[in-house]
C-alpha cells in the first residue's frame, strides 16, 4: 500500500511517457533543422528555360576537359557565348549615369526606367525570367564577375571525385546489382529512384529541368552541404559494384 501511494504522488507513468515523447520530438524534429541554414543561389538560374526552351544539352555547359577533369559550373565566358555583352563599359556608364556608383541599384527600377543599352540585352520573354536575366547582366556579366554558384554536391577538400570514372554508371543496372564479397552479400540499393540520367544518382533529383533552383542547405557548424553524398553512401555503392574501398581511392 505504501508503494502505491508513492507512485501516485509522482503522477504514474503518464508524465514519463509525455516527457519521453517530447524529448523525442525535440531531438528528432526540432533541433536538427536548426543546424542548417538555407542559402539562396546567387542567381535564379532556370534549367527549364535553357534545356526545354532553348534546346541546350547538358554538355553544352557541363563537359569534360581534355585532361579528363570535369568543368562543373560554366564560367561567365561560356554564358557569354549566348548572353554576349558587346561593350560592357558603355552599358556600365549608362547604368552609372542613371543610378550612380552603386550600379546594382538599377535593378530596383522598373524596366521602363532602366537605360536602353541594358534593356536591349535581355533576351527572355516572361517577366520573371527577364528579372533573372537582368540580375545576371547587372551583377555579373557587365562588371565581369564570376557567378559564385553554390554547389549542392560540395565535398570537403580531401575528397577527390572523378566524374570520368562515374560517367558510364547506369542507375537501372545499379538497382539490380547484388554481389557476394567473400560470403558477405551486398544487397540491392532499393531506395535509388529510377532515372534515365545517371547524374540523378548523386545530384538533386530533377535539377536538370527545374525552373527555380532550390536553396542550398548549409550546416552552420561545418559549412558543408546537407544535400551531398556521405562517405557511407560512396562506400556502399563501391562495395556493390565490386570496386575497391581503399582510402586513397577517394581521398587526397
Amino acid at each position: 500500500m505504501e508503494e502505491r501511494k508513492a507512485s501516485k504522488r509522482c503522477g504514474g507513468v503518464l508524465p514519463f511517457f509525455i516527457g519521453f515523447l517530447l524529448s523525442c520530438i525535440i531531438g528528432w524534429a526540432v533541433i536538427p533543422p536548426l543546424f542548417y541554414q538555407e542559402v539562396e543561389q546567387p542567381l535564379r538560374f532556370s534549367h527549364q528555360v535553357h534545356v526545354e526552351g532553348q534546346g541546350m544539352y547538358c554538355d553544352s555547359c557541363h563537359y569534360f576537359r581534355e585532361d579528363g577533369s570535369y568543368a562543373g559550373f560554366p564560367s561567365i565566358q561560356q554564358c557569354a557565348e549566348c548572353h554576349y555583352v558587346d561593350d560592357p563599359e558603355y552599358v556600365m556608364e549608362a547604368i552609372v549615369e542613371q543610378v550612380g556608383e552603386d550600379y546594382e541599384a538599377v535593378l530596383d527600377l522598373p524596366e521602363e526606367e532602366m537605360p536602353e543599352a541594358l534593356v536591349e540585352l535581355v533576351m527572355s520573354g516572361e517577366e520573371r525570367d527577364r528579372k533573372a536575366e537582368l540580375d545576371y547582366l547587372v551583377k555579373f556579366a557587365i562588371p565581369g564577375k564570376e557567378i559564385p554558384w553554390l554547389n549542392y554536391q560540395y565535398q570537403p577538400d580531401n575528397v577527390f571525385f572523378s566524374h570520368a570514372a562515374h560517367q558510364n554508371l547506369v542507375i537501372a543496372d545499379l538497382k539490380e546489382m547484388e554481389i557476394d564479397l567473400d560470403g558477405v552479400t551486398v544487397s540491392k540499393i532499393e531506395e535509388i529512384e529510377e532515372s534515365d540520367q545517371n547524374c540523378d544518382l548523386c545530384h538533386l533529383k530533377g535539377i536538370a529541368t527545374n525552373d527555380t533552383p532550390p536553396p542550398f542547405e548549409r550546416n552552420i557548424i561545418s559549412g558543408y552541404s546537407k544535400m551531398t553524398m556521405k562517405m557511407w553512401q560512396c562506400e556502399r555503392c563501391h562495395a556493390q559494384m565490386g570496386q575497391v574501398n581503399a582510402c586513397y581511392v577517394c581521398h587526397k
Partner: protein, 216 residues
C-alpha cells in the same frame, strides 16, 4: 618478412651519385602539397601579448619536409672530406611499420598502386606511426598552417591542407596518380594499366627535364 603485394606498384628510383643536394625536389614537394612555410608570428592570434610565438623554420624538429635531403659526410677535414646527399621521401614500404600501429586506421596500404595512404581528418595525432617509421618520413603538425598574406593565392587544389594535431607524410603525389587515371579514362585507355611515366611525382618532375607538354 611478409609484404603486401599489388598488381600495380608505383616506384621511384633516385640516383644518389647524381644528387648535388640542390633541394629543388624539396621545394617542388612543398609547393605541390601545400606545406606551409613556418612563421613565428600569427596575425590571427589576438592574444599575442600573452601567448608564446610559434616555431619558425629554424626549429628543425618541427619543420615539415615530406621530401628531405640529408647530407652525409665522412667527417674528415679537407682534402679528405667527402659528402653525399640522400633525398628521402616516404619509402612506401612493402610492409609499412606505421600501418599496424595506427589505432584508428588513418594510415593504410590497401590501394592498387601500393602507396601508403594517410587520411588527415581521421588521424588523432597519437604519433605512434612516427615512432614506428624507420625513415623519419612522418611529420606532426605542431601548429596550424599559415601562409603569409598573398601566398595563400598559390595554394594547390591537389592536396588538402592539414590542421594542427595530425600527422602527415609524403603521399607520392597521389592526386597526380588520380588525375592520370582520369585522363586515361576519358581517352578510352585502361586506368589500371597506365604507362610507366603516366604520372611523375612533383619532386622528380622538378629535377628532370620536361619531355612534352602532354606528359606534365
Amino acid at each position: 618478412m611478409q609484404t603486401k603485394e599489388f598488381r600495380i606498384k608505383w616506384g621511384m628510383v633516385i640516383d644518389i651519385d647524381k644528387c648535388t643536394g640542390c633541394g629543388a625536389c624539396m621545394v617542388g614537394c612543398q609547393v605541390e602539397n601545400n606545406i606551409a612555410p613556418m612563421t613565428k608570428k600569427d596575425p590571427y592570434n589576438y592574444l599575442q601579448a600573452i601567448t608564446k610565438d610559434r616555431d619558425d623554420a629554424s626549429n628543425k624538429l618541427r619543420t615539415m619536409t615530406w621530401m628531405n635531403v640529408y647530407e652525409l659526410t665522412n667527417g674528415e677535414k679537407f682534402p679528405n672530406h667527402e659528402v653525399a646527399y640522400l633525398p628521402r621521401p616516404c619509402m612506401q614500404c612493402g610492409n609499412p611499420a606505421c600501418v599496424p600501429v595506427c589505432p584508428v586506421i588513418a594510415t593504410d596500404k590497401n590501394e592498387e598502386g601500393g602507396i601508403v595512404s594517410q587520411i588527415y581528418p581521421r588521424c588523432i595525432g597519437c604519433r605512434y606511426c612516427m615512432a614506428a617509421c624507420p625513415y623519419h618520413a612522418r611529420y606532426f603538425n605542431w601548429w596550424d598552417p599559415l601562409w603569409p598574406e598573398g601566398m595563400d593565392k598559390v595554394l594547390s587544389p591537389e592536396a588538402s591542407v592539414r590542421p594542427r594535431g595530425v600527422v602527415e607524410k609524403c603521399n607520392f603525389c597521389h592526386t597526380r596518380f588520380m588525375t592520370a587515371k582520369e585522363e586515361a579514362r576519358i581517352n578510352g585507355e585502361d586506368p589500371e594499366n597506365l604507362a610507366e611515366d603516366a604520372y611523375i611525382p612533383a619532386c622528380a618532375r622538378s629535377v628532370r627535364p620536361v619531355p612534352s607538354p602532354s606528359a606534365i
